[in-house]
């Protein structure tokens, strides 16, 4: 069976149903390993134990951005190839990406108060991530506003691709402007600036959160395919009850 055949919704549901139990188990295992390493990680020499917030804040930030990149790739699938599974992937990713972006904002704020002396500043990094969260809400609202899923998918795809301009702004905001937020310390030229004792638990937590994202996304995609089947059956039922005109 070729890879493209999995793009058939029925085959996708069958595959997702087989994969999800295993993926869920691997995700739980990854979190068990990650959290045990967080527990054992030393305090930072400047921040003390508050560095432990980084182990959830940074993966949440990465996945908030990853969610939009995934939606942008799916938007191309919608607009260029008009594939219905691309619509499903984009719609299912939006609430998950929004949740991880919210997690990033909340944990960042709680990290900022003891370290910076404030929960919030309107600097470029924080503001651009808040804009990302608001864009997620906008896309979710757009999906809910238009009844026809195909029309909704095209409108959401255009909005997603326009919003993708915010992704490099988030990434490079700490380089382009003076921000209270620190510059990149993991993905940077010259390698990470974080000590391995803290970097290793961070990477393990990032792997666990990424597995969680993939698991939730597959489950949400399966739900969305079921929702479209329900919609088809409701229209069929309405047609049966209306009878021939």
């Amino acid at each position: 069976m070729s890879l493209i055949e999995f793009a058939n919704p029925s085959r996708f549901v069958a595959l997702a149903s087989r994969v999800l139990p295993w993926l869920s188990a691997v995700t739980v295992l990854a979190f068990a390993v990650g959290i045990s390493q967080v527990y054992l990680a030393p305090d930072d020499y400047q921040q003390g134990a508050t560095v432990k917030i980084m182990f959830i804040h940074v993966p949440a930030a990465w996945l908030g951005i990853f969610g939009w990149v995934l939606m942008s790739a799916a938007a191309l699938g919608t607009l260029v190839w008009r594939h219905p599974l691309a619509d499903v992937a984009a719609k299912a990713a939006a609430p998950i990406g929004a949740a991880f972006t919210l997690m990033c904002l909340v944990t960042g704020s709680l990290w900022g108060r003891p370290m910076w002396g404030t929960y919030w500043v309107w600097d470029a990094r924080l503001t651009s991530v808040l804009v990302l969260f608001l864009m997620y809400l906008g896309v979710i609202a757009l999906w809910r506003t238009i009844d026809d899923p195909t029309q909704a998918a095209r409108a959401a795809a255009v909005l997603t691709l326009v919003g993708a301009i915010n992704i490099p702004i988030i990434k490079f905001s700490v380089d382009w402007w003076n921000t209270l937020h620190q510059p990149a310390s993991v993905f940077r030229l010259g390698g990470p600036t974080i000590h391995p004792a803290i970097l290793v638990p961070l990477i393990l937590m990032a792997v666990a959160f990424t597995l969680l994202f993939v698991t939730l996304h597959l489950a949400a995609m399966r739900n969305e395919i079921m929702r479209r089947r329900v919609r088809t059956l409701m229209m069929l039922q309405a047609g049966v009850h209306a009878g021939p005109s």
Binding site: P9, S10, Y39, D43, G48, A49, T50, K52, I53, I56, H57, A60, P84, P95, I96, A99, F100, L102, M103, V106, T107, L110, W111, R113, P114, L212, L216, A219, A220, R222, N223, I225, M226, R227, R228, R229, V230, R231, T232, L233, L236, Q237, V240
Partner: protein, 60 residues
């Protein structure tokens, strides 16, 4: 017992918020699936099926 220092409340609140957000997402997906499964079962009980289930191929 882990010593979280003078800012323990911020650390605990951050982890609690993360757990609440993940739990909310998982609950939403599971409840949504249960609701949709019931609706599909109801349609099947009424004898309303998709064309693909009747063998003449439909997208969903």
């Amino acid at each position: 017992m882990m010593h979280l220092g003078p800012h323990a409340a911020f650390i605990v609140t951050a982890y609690a918020a993360a757990i609440a957000i993940v739990a909310g997402l998982v609950a939403w997906i599971l409840l949504d699936r249960r609701h949709l499964t019931r609706m599909l079962d109801d349609f099947e009980a009424q004898g309303i099926t998709r064309r693909s289930q009747r063998g003449d191929g439909e997208k969903w």
